[in-house]
């Protein structure tokens, strides 16, 4: 089998992103196909790396000539490979929807590639500082994407995002400083190896700093103030992209922090608490929401909470569940964000809109045979075998609330309103996403095997 260096996943789109203005100079029409081509190529790389990882185990790669722990290290673990594939698979699909747009902004395409590359970077990096840098690139790119609508709402949302993102990055830096101050290393393995030599106070402080910093990006409850505003302000496409890329990378970083980086006492309990709070507050806030993007944003918050709950169970089954939930959320939420532009219930008349939206909603609510079901099912099975009844009850209540507001929202109105509907390209994108949902749902065994590997690896302290 061909093996390719993982750094390509990052370097390739980064490089071509900066080439995009050149292409734009040559031909304005070529930018969109060019970007799509780059993204698709990246998908190919990601799938090759995924296959390599699932057959050959974790891939390490040093950059910049130094050996670890000083040099920068990329390490593609099982989970990293899954998420890298997920992000790189979905981002071209969401990009397809841009084809039907009359606007043709090279900046948008650039930022898009940039964020794709850096989100991928977060999930495959082996170095804390590297992760910080990728976080920042992701964040800067996302700010730009959110603001790209150039409306009042867009600027407002982007600004809130910038402020909270910057505060978050300051916290990450503080955390990095704390860790570096004691351990003189930023390599994940080194940190994990020697973390026990840190004084508990410092360890805890580092943990707190990092979880706050990453939590902003991962939409965890008290830190996610920007989420509804930024999603509401941004265009449907950007919201769709944000929910598949940056947020997944963020929750990955949280998992990394919890499992391998700084395993503190009570860390999982804290994560559980935060996850449940996020879940419940997100779902409840969505219940009376009138604006669709905002509702979907709240729903995203709830889903992230659920994923965090799954991670915090600290067991193999729940970890697998978390992976399925991430897949489900990435696919279904981007589908819903894309499909609900110009939404009225009348747009459901078109089967190419209604069927994908229907599938997306089902997957989010957790109906079989879609990935969301497998996630919730494994999570519940795991919690049931440990006897966490209260948590199951909360998760169940959240699911019911979810169903209620999705139903109330998506099917409101009389069905006679005229709607411009969505463009052909957007339709293509959501149909592909729906197909992917169906495929993953019907054949979970192909995800299950790598997911179990990822779980074992993470639970064993690996990447």
């Amino acid at each position: 089998m061909v093996s390719i260096p993982p750094v390509l996943l990052i370097a390739f789109p980064l490089f071509f992103a900066f080439l995009a203005p050149l292409i734009n100079m040559v031909s304005k029409k070529a930018v969109k196909p060019y970007t799509l081509f780059v993204l698709l190529l990246n998908t190919l790389f990601a799938s090759i790396i995924f296959l390599n990882v699932s057959s050959g185990g974790v891939i390490y790669e040093q950059l910049s000539g130094f050996y670890p722990p000083i040099g920068i290290l990329l390490s593609v673990g099982y989970l990293g490979a899954i998420l890298a594939l997920l992000i790189n698979l979905l981002s071209p699909i969401v990009y397809i929807s841009y084809f039907g747009d009359a606007k043709n902004s090279v900046k948008f395409s650039m930022l898009y590639m940039l964020v794709t590359a850096s989100s991928t970077g977060i999930v495959i990096t082996g170095d804390l500082f590297n992760m910080f840098v990728f976080f920042e690139i992701t964040a800067v790119g996302s700010y730009g994407l959110v603001a790209s609508m150039r409306t009042k709402k867009a600027f407002e949302g982007a600004f809130k995002y910038i402020v909270l993102g910057s505060v978050g990055s300051a916290f990450i830096l503080l955390g990095i400083a704390t860790i570096y101050g004691y351990l003189k290393t930023l390599n994940f393995y080194d940190i994990a190896l020697r973390i026990s030599s840190m004084p508990p106070t410092a360890r805890l402080m580092a943990f707190i700093f990092l979880i706050i910093g990453i939590g902003v990006e991962a939409e965890i409850f008290p830190l996610n103030g920007w989420v509804p505003d930024a999603y509401e302000g941004s265009s449907h496409r950007v919201a769709s992209f944000l929910s598949l890329g940056p947020s997944k990378a963020g929750i990955y970083a949280i998992a990394r922090l919890l499992f391998t980086l700084i395993p503190i006492m009570g860390g999982f309990e804290l994560a559980l608490l935060l996850g449940l709070l996020t879940l419940i507050i997100g779902e409840l806030a969505a219940l009376k929401q009138k604006e669709i993007k905002r509702m979907l944003a709240y729903s995203s918050i709830g889903q992230m909470g659920l994923i965090l709950v799954a991670f915090s169970m600290d067991s193999r089954m729940a970890f697998v569940a978390a992976i399925f939930l991430m897949i489900s959320h990435a696919m279904a939420k981007s589908l819903l964000f894309l499909g609900t532009r110009n939404y009225t219930v009348g747009s459901l008349k078109n089967p190419f809109v209604s069927v994908p939206i229907f599938i997306g909603v089902l997957s989010i609510i957790g109906m079989p045979p879609f990935p969301g079901f497998w996630g919730k099912w494994y999570l519940m099975v795991d919690m049931a075998s440990q006897g966490f009844w209260t948590i199951i009850l909360l998760v169940i209540l959240a699911a019911i609330v979810e169903a209620v507001y999705y139903a109330r929202f998506l099917f409101k109105g009389t069905g006679t309103e005229k709607s411009e509907g969505i463009s052909k390209s957007e339709m293509t994108a959501i149909v592909i996403l729906a197909l992917l949902l169906v495929l993953v749902g019907l054949f979970p065994q192909y995800i299950y095997a790598p997911a179990v590997n990822a779980a074992s690896s993470f639970l064993g302290g690996g990447p």
Binding site: E136, I162, A170
Partner: protein, 116 residues
């Protein structure tokens, strides 16, 4: 390695962080918030640079004198962080301009904002 928290450099950086956070929390004016963010960044950066400081050390540049030099990694970190901070500030200012063009104000007013 020991840190003495009462060293002035830490006091300064902590103060800067605190001022920055206070500004972010209390101000409605976009420019003031951006300035506060800058302060926050600076505070953090100072803290990190201070961490790598060794009394009497030289800059971490290879010049044959290996005896005592600063830890290079924090400096690299800070350099990166500054760059990022600059770009974020630039972007924030651009957004502020856009906001101003759309609304004619740089106050994040209470009525017009997206909420709930």
């Amino acid at each position: 390695m020991t840190y003495e928290l009462l060293e002035p450099i830490f006091i300064i950086s902590t103060a800067l962080i605190a001022i920055g956070l206070y500004g972010v929390m209390s101000k409605k004016n976009i420019l003031k918030i951006i300035l506060s963010l800058g302060l926050l960044d600076t505070g953090v950066n100072i803290l990190i640079v201070a961490m790598g400081y060794i009394p009497g050390g030289t800059a971490p540049i290879e010049n044959g004198n290996y005896s005592l030099y600063m830890d290079p990694v924090p400096q690299a970190l800070v350099l990166t962080a500054i760059v990022i901070g600059v770009s974020v500030t630039a972007l924030a200012l651009a957004v502020a301009m856009g906001y101003y063009k759309k609304t004619g104000t740089i106050e994040l007013d209470k009525e017009g904002v997206m909420k709930w």
